[in-house]
């Protein structure tokens, strides 16, 4: 299939449409027994017309295992340790360090040192744990925000929120990032939390978000709740470690 040499030049040239030649149809065109009519065609997803292309696509997907091998090898560097105060993890690849940093030092609450998997959860935690204004407002309006990104529902209590997470979003009832504060959970929850939580490294435990006591059946007295927020349950060295790579989301004014 020989293409005219000027074609490549045209491709590289300026945009433009040809001035159309005059159209002049005869009414006999396409008349029976003939049937041609110029028309655009559309094909739906399962049409057999797409079979060849679809098969090629899937061969490509299945081939990926051979692709990964062609990727450049991760360079190993001389072992180094994490520079964050109090952390002495060692690494020999930058990727491992990146993951460590983001997991443990990335979204860290400067009040209680807890680490969170995302800025969204960190923000929610700060608001619900360290903001007394939040507690005051929560008495009068729905303040507990749904944890699922994109869902704008708010709830009166964290228990209601959990209910919503489970029934509406099909989250597990023991979702790790929606646990009541340590020390106040009922005995029945202990077993589920034992897994993965039996060590308490210096960075503080897990990633609890919700602050409400799980055993609360009615609203706890106002003073008690405010009081418990003023004294964090883990010691804060007060260095005010920065939150690392944090987004520009709005912060609550108080620590």
């Amino acid at each position: 299939m020989q293409l005219p040499p000027a074609l490549h030049a045209r491709l590289a040239g300026a945009p433009g449409a040809a001035a159309p030649l005059p159209v002049q149809r005869d009414s006999l065109a396409g008349n029976a027994p003939f049937r041609f009519a110029a028309r655009q065609v559309r094909f739906p997803r399962e049409h057999e017309f797409f079979e060849d292309g679809d098969v090629q696509r899937h061969l490509y997907l299945q081939d990926v295992i051979t692709q990964v091998a062609a990727e450049p090898e991760r360079p190993r560097v001389p072992e180094f340790t994490c520079q964050v105060a109090g952390c002495c993890q060692a690494f020999d690849t930058l990727e491992d360090y990146e993951h460590h940093y983001h997991t443990l030092h990335g979204n860290v609450c400067s009040s209680c040192k807890r680490a969170f998997p995302s800025g969204h959860l960190l923000d929610t935690h700060i608001q619900e744990w360290h903001d007394s204004l939040f507690q005051i407002l929560a008495e009068r309006q729905d303040m507990y925000q749904c944890l699922v990104e994109g869902c704008t529902e708010k709830f009166r209590t964290s228990r209601d929120r959990k209910e919503h997470l489970v029934t509406h979003h099909l989250y597990p009832a023991d979702f790790r990032f929606d646990k009541p504060r340590k020390g106040r959970r009922p005995a029945s929850q202990v077993s589920t939390e034992a897994i993965g939580e039996d060590r308490a490294p210096s960075e503080g435990d897990a990633m609890e978000v919700c602050s409400e006591q799980a055993e609360a059946h009615s609203e706890p007295p106002r003073e008690r709740r405010v009081y418990s927020h003023r004294i964090p349950s883990t010691v804060c060295f007060g260095q005010g470690a920065s939150r690392g790579f944090k987004s520009t989301k709005k912060r609550s004014k108080r620590q």
């Binding site: 299939m1 293409l3 074609l7 590289a12 159309p20 149809r25 655009q40 090629q56 299945q62 990926v64």
Partner: protein, 493 residues
């Protein structure tokens, strides 16, 4: 300038013939699956470099006791390295289907794995995620579905910052998505669409490619047109996808391939293509087509057809939308460079992937059917002869070529004048010698138009023994009426 991409093939110790044979088998299996509407493929992300460093990839089948021991060490080992090593051993064992089966039947195994996944030990987290990934890749539904308890966490981690980890989570999710409708019925309320919409803003190419893969799996689902595509169209995903398909130095082939296929699944489901057009889809895809034609001339890159195919499909289907016809709109596709690009790509298909020629010609049909301007361009850019050269490829291709020629001819004498004489007559006589009814039928249609609009065409036809060529088909049911009509016209004018 296309950024580098991973090579498609790698020698794995198998002979070339064996590779070809395996590929043919896989292709046959995929065709069968597609006909049964069961086309499902999973991606496996395995870091071969690390595996080789770990001492070869001999996959060991682990028994119950060994699995339990590894889990115990991972969970309660005293030393960091010891815990990691245990998980690595488990992960390698999980590459084998038997280990996978044993694992999922062990009580509490998934629970422990999910606990490790959500622990704050970064490297354990990564290894646990790799274990889940191996499970997600299984062809056994029971194994893949065993990963369900982890999905809410996988989604939560998508809004984190560690690109390797996010990539792994995305490929795992993509594998799970394709597993069954039950899985998707869980993932949708868990917020997978908003999670992906947030994650698509990542600057990391590896993350984007993984996201495109996961999204393409979601959009390919049977229930997608009704349940998933409306959600996707209502999010910010389409705008981001179109942005990622903008041609230019930042375009990455691997990423573009995934999102082009996403766009194809959305468009061919015909849910709300008008919305995509208002977001500039036609313009973006048109420019991308130009870019692809230029790239195809520059590099020998095997793999460009993986992107050309979905782009062609998207354009072709979008052109049929009413919104595409709005006269004078900036969103309309009118640039004749698109035609130039398409022919360069048709030539490329001819050499690299002839099975894609029909799709390219389908786009050509949709461009020319209602457009005097594009038909004129076909003539002024000297593309009629190259088109005729495609007539010998296959019956399907021939029918499409003849259809495009009819698109030009039906616009009247000014157009037929330029189709004549050239190669058209001898070529038509050749096609009349064929036996495929559809090819011959389309040739007859073209002849009628030529007889009607081009003075002297019938005469020339007679002189070249056209009547004899027609006689062959006098008894064929679908053709006889038209054959007789043409014979009459040729003889009596």
């Amino acid at each position: 300038m296309w950024s580098g991409r991973r090579g498609l093939l790698r020698s794995s110790g198998c002979g070339v013939e064996e590779l070809r044979c395996r590929r043919r088998e896989r292709e046959a299996a995929l065709r069968k699956a597609r006909r049964e509407q069961q086309l499902v493929s999973k991606r496996l992300l395995r870091d071969e470099a690390t595996e080789e460093a770990e001492g070869g990839c001999v996959v060991v089948i682990l028994g119950e006791a060994e699995i339990q021991e590894f889990l115990r060490l991972a969970q309660r080992g005293t030393e960091e390295k010891e815990r990691e090593r245990a998980l690595v051993s488990l992960r390698r064992g999980l590459q084998h289907p038997e280990t996978q089966q044993t694992f999922i039947r062990l009580e509490g195994s998934i629970r422990t794995l999910v606990g490790l996944l959500t622990s704050n030990q970064a490297l354990l987290q990564l290894e646990a995620a790799r274990c889940l990934h191996e499970l997600s890749h299984s062809e056994q539904s029971a194994v893949a579905e065993a990963c369900l308890p982890a999905t809410s966490y996988l989604l939560t981690y998508l809004s984190g910052h560690s690109s390797d980890f996010i990539e792994l989570c995305l490929y795992t999710l993509g594998n799970l998505i394709v597993e069954s409708e039950a899985v998707r019925r869980q993932l949708l309320p868990q917020g997978i669409v908003p999670a992906l919409a947030a994650c698509i803003q990542s600057p990391h190419l590896t993350v984007l490619e993984a996201l495109g893969y996961a999204l393409s799996q979601l959009l390919q689902a049977k229930e997608a047109p009704g349940k998933i595509i409306p959600l996707v169209l209502g999010s910010t995903l389409p705008q981001h996808i179109l942005q990622l398909l903008q041609p230019g130095p930042k375009l990455n082939l691997g990423v573009a391939v995934e999102f082009a296929w996403c766009l194809h699944y959305i468009i061919c489901s015909q849910v709300n293509n008008a919305l995509l057009i208002t977001q500039g889809a036609l313009t973006t895809l048109g420019l991308l087509l130009l870019d692809l034609a230029a790239a195809v001339q520059r590099t020998e890159d095997a793999g460009l057809e993986l992107l050309v195919c979905p782009v062609v499909r998207c354009l072709s289907n979008l052109l049929t939308e009413a919104a595409a016809e709005t006269v004078g709109g900036p969103m309309q596709l009118r640039d004749e460079r698109v035609l130039a690009a398409l022919f360069i790509l048709l030539q490329f298909f001819l050499h690299k992937q002839p099975s894609l020629l029909p799709e390219g010609l389908w786009l050509l049909n949709n461009l020319t059917a209602n457009s005097p301007s594009f038909c004129t361009s076909l003539i002024s850019l000297d593309l009629i002869e190259p088109l005729l050269h495609l007539l010998s490829v296959s019956n399907v291709v021939s029918v499409l070529v003849l259809t495009v020629l009819c698109n030009v001819a039906e616009k009247g004498p000014a157009y037929c004048q330029h189709l004549w004489p050239g190669l058209l007559l001898p070529t038509l006589l050749d096609t009349l010698a064929l036996s495929d009814t559809e090819v011959v039928g389309q040739s007859l249609e073209l002849l009628q138009l030529l007889f009607l609009y081009q003075p002297g065409a019938a005469q020339a036809f007679l002189q070249q023994s056209g009547l004899q060529a027609l006689q062959r088909h006098e008894e064929v049911a679908q053709l006889q009426d038209r054959v007789h009509a043409l014979q009459q016209t040729a003889l009596h004018g």
